[in-house]
Symmetry: C2
């Protein structure tokens, strides 16, 4: 299969997971794997994995499986992370600071190269090897550096407005940590990380043992 048959976003979303497993295998020194083994590790069916990969080419060998390093390279190319993307962090609260300092980005294709906040106390301070810049510098800095990706870690009330600024500056992919749905043009991609939403999803499945939580009254505002 050649490509260009627009592949569903759900498939694309699994590729980074495959990549994680492959880099683990590389660390372990294993040079060949199979859809079955990958599936085992990831809790995904082997058929699923084969079907997903088949959208992009024929990477395996029948009877043998997949060469780990080769598949790893191919997936990195497909996801366009066979290069290093510059990323901006907006909002230097605890979370923004954690993101700006996180060492795990570089080895997986991303480097934070700009950090913004609007708090005068924070502007000008150092964060790793970066200096916190004022929001007023956002447009110039992002366009100058050709930054296309941003992580949004500002309070929900400001998120939409900052988002608009980012888009105006040319950002095309936003990882949004604010618990709010953003409005963006169709050509801007947004992913949401709301830890509370995940927690709330899981509590649905928990037992209602009164020992396990503090019962409150309904709590709906007026």
């Amino acid at each position: 299969m050649v490509a260009v048959e627009d592949i569903s976003n759900i498939v694309i979303g699994r590729l980074p997971i495959y990549l994680r497993a492959l880099s683990q295998l590389i660390e372990e020194g294993q040079s060949v794997t199979s859809s079955h083994e990958l599936g085992e590790r990831l809790g995904i069916s082997s058929a699923q994995i084969r079907k997903d990969l088949s959208h992009f080419g024929e990477f395996g060998k029948q009877g043998t499986g997949y060469k780990v390093a080769h598949l790893y390279d191919q997936l990195r190319q497909i996801l366009k992370i066979d290069r290093e993307w510059r990323v901006a962090v907006v909002g230097v609260g605890d979370l923004g600071r954690a993101l700006a300092r996180y060492g795990g980005f570089v080895e997986r294709g991303f480097r934070v190269t700009a950090v913004f906040d609007n708090d005068p106390q924070k502007i000008g301070t150092d964060l790793g090897d970066l200096t916190v810049m004022p929001m007023s510098a956002l447009y110039n800095e992002i366009t100058a550096q050709h930054i296309k990706i941003a992580m949004l870690a500002v309070p929900a009330a400001y998120a939409q407005s900052v988002c608009n600024d980012l888009v105006a500056a040319g950002v095309r992919a936003i990882l949004n940590y604010a618990p709010i749905t953003l409005n963006t043009p169709f050509n801007v991609h947004v992913q949401y990380i709301d830890p509370v939403a995940y927690l709330q999803q899981m509590t649905y499945y928990l037992d209602s043992d009164p020992m396990d939580s503090v019962v409150k009254d309904s709590g709906a505002a007026s």
Copy 2:
């Protein structure tokens, strides 16, 4: 429709999103809404929203819509967040620290009441109004507090082992920030937050303008 027809996890996952929109509406002082309005704000079809809600009861009134406060209460009950869940944070790096200090949990049903790390430098230090405890105290503390929910923010290499300890201590829901798939018994729920995976998913859709990233060689290890 009464209930108990096991509702797909994908539906459950949207309820927290509806809840977010409803609390926004409450803040704005709006008392009635419609599936259309909610859908508009969230980028979800109105039919989807009506269908999702219909699994749990008939919350709306034809011709009128939904009473915001009532629907909000109902969803909180359904998700079992009409109470406050105690949560443990394991791993006090930048991220764990940010989680432990984050003010947004309490208003949405969760309170961090225990923090663990294995670094002697960190053990005993204060974090908000909590004190960092050693991993050796994990079992006793979690069982004593009847904690069922944990957030995992340790390096990937330790995640599975810590996960096992958590499960042994009675934890039934884990929010995992380590970039690794965890093995857990069927009755333990896990949600994954891997920001890099989301970024990698979005880069697939970005243009390959050489100005926008630093090209590297293939980079696959031996």
